[in-house]
């Protein structure tokens, strides 16, 4: 994601997908057949939103499967799973919260990219994405693997939403993008390869998006709220002014 934001100002789905396709095509490993990519399957087994209100957790269960065909001539390698959760406009992740070592010690690295402002409403914000790096183990491409599961729990917070007549705004969070990166010891140098599940694999996952209903202000309230706010402020002001002038030392007679 760091590379993405070096080339693009903000996160858009189409730009991101083009970027990922380019990254993958330029990150194939020497000595590994091009069609070997089908051997690695990363899928989302479950995606859900836990909790209520403005602070919730996005729970994702990721499954990694290594196909039947192994590559015996492949040298030693170390792999990690990279999960990129793109977030819609209405929610954000707190980068400082994600640094908490107690909660996130299972991950090699976590970072938030994009708009990390914690305070602005959604209509003054841009999108962000959270990138997880999870250790998948060493030499895993040698052996068939029916499925290793990784569970991610991402704390998310709702931004203030644009005004809506219904009083609520629905924000949809899609599945994360997943890939595996392996560092392979080459004859002359180390190389890094990226693997990603073919597009048709994604269609097999169980849930595409989760919906988060967030309260929003109602435009119909604007008129009378402003008037009553200022009238209340005025009444309070007059009361305090009257009390101060009447009960201060300036006008009361001596004892």
């Amino acid at each position: 994601m760091k590379s993405y934001f070096e080339n693009y100002e903000s996160l858009h789905d189409s730009s991101f997908e083009d970027f990922m396709a380019h990254q993958l095509s330029s990150s194939l490993c020497q000595g590994i057949p091009d069609n070997w990519n089908v051997g690695v399957r990363l899928s989302v087994r479950e995606l859900s939103l836990i909790g209520e209100g403005s602070h919730r957790h996005l729970s994702s269960s990721i499954r990694l499967q290594i196909g039947a065909a192994s590559i015996p001539k492949l040298p030693a390698h170390l792999c990690e799973v990279i999960v990129i959760q793109r977030l819609p406009l209405g929610v954000f992740a707190d980068p400082f919260e994600l640094q908490n070592p107690h909660k996130h010690k299972a991950f090699r690295d976590i970072a938030v990219f994009g708009d990390t402002n914690l305070e602005l409403p959604s209509f003054q914000s841009n999108r962000s994405a959270v990138e997880f790096h999870i250790d998948a183990g060493s030499n895993i491409l040698f052996m068939q693997n029916n499925g290793t599961e990784f569970n991610l729990l991402l704390p998310l917070h709702a931004r203030y939403q644009p005004l809506d007549e219904s009083g609520y705004s629905v924000v949809e969070i899609g599945e994360p993008d997943m890939l595996m990166r392996c560092s392979v010891e080459g004859k002359q140098h180390k190389q890094s390869c990226l693997f990603m599940s073919p597009p048709n694999e994604k269609a097999k996952s169980t849930s595409a998006t989760v919906a988060w209903k967030i309260p929003a202000g109602m435009k119909a309230h604007a008129g009378f709220v402003s008037v009553i706010t200022f009238v209340t402020a005025l009444l309070s002001t007059l009361s305090i002014v009257y009390a101060s002038m009447f009960w201060s030392g300036t006008k009361v007679s001596k004892t």
């Binding site: 400082f96 009083g167 202000g217 435009k219 709220v225 009960w247 300036t250 004892t255």
Partner: protein, 433 residues
Amino acid sequence: MISLKPRSILLISAIFRVGLILFGEWQDTHVEVRYTDVDYLVFSDAASLMASGQSPYKRTTYRYSPLLAFLLIPNSFTSRCWGKFLFSASDLFVGLFIRIILKQRKVPDDLCTYSMLIWLFNPFTFTIGTRGNCEPIVCAMILWIIICLNNGNVVQAAFWYGLIVHFRIYPIIYALPIIIFLDPCFFRSGTKPLLSDWTSDQGKARQINSELTDKCVVSDALKSTFTRSRILFGLISGTVFLLCTGFFFRLYGWEFLHEALLYHLTRTDPRHNFSIYFYHIYLNYERELSVLEKLISFLPQFIVQLVLILCFAKDLVFCFFVQTVAFVAFNKVITAQYFVWFFCLLPLILPWSNMKLKWKGLCCILLWMGAQTHWLLWGYLLEFKGKNVFLQLWMASLLFLAANTFILIVLIRHHNYGPVFRQHTDLKTTKTT
């Protein structure tokens, strides 16, 4: 009657606070809900950045003077609780200063003790420092300024005043009452001003000591506006403020100026808070508010501050108190930590109030807490249950303003107003302290 000695009270308070800090560390590690204030993490991160030679403003939402990050640098290499101990120590100093200020006015020991206890054992105030909020430092400095002024030490008062305005901005509202307070009738070159003492009549029927003010003839007002004390105070405090601000601007540039100063002067937050303006701001956030709208929202604050200053400046501590209550109540953003600003002044005005705890005092306490709790309930439903209760929450904030206004008026009504100082010429035989 309480017979605890001040030293014992401070010792028990200190032990209690150390216990709370240690409990807080345990809670942070073992319980989902943290004891430590999220602001403390912000301060600590900013201090780490400063310790490594970087700008503290690289830490998002750090909106304080670099002085605060500097004070917390030891968090990085001693204990991460260093800051909490510092803030709690300031908290204890506030209790001590409350006693000093009241003893300066010859308030009896038992009332001094009650006043200390009101601050030191108020659940709101002892959690503030132990959770890592820096407001006790501000409170301690404000009270120290009062002590200096009571002692006639204008230079020192001015120094700390310039520093505190740099540190926290809001004490700028005390500038005009301090200038009025430095009345040449009482502040004379080479002579310590005479404090008017508390008397047992303060607790009875309301009295006004206006006779002493009549002798300062109005016709001398213009001549005495620019006195040595006032000029000295203005120059020294202004210089200290500009020096601090200039120094940190040199180090951290526009980021410092924007985050530590300008942000607070222009802050409007559409997110829910105790202020009556929050929903109006949210509903109009997508469009730019007109100059007239901004002026209308600023006018109540301006008028109230001006009237309170003109009516009560001679009774400086009471003036500070009512100004602070009103400032917080009419502000565009109100968070719970702002309440500490007037909590530290409340024990100083109570000996001059003829309002009894039973039942008027108790009613005021319950009314204020009730209005706050009512707001918090709606806030909980909005933030933690996801219910659209914006309208109800806004109405709760109106009620909270109404409660604050009512209590302020009751306190004004029951206060025995009187100038802090008395004149030298009428009391030649009175010894100065």
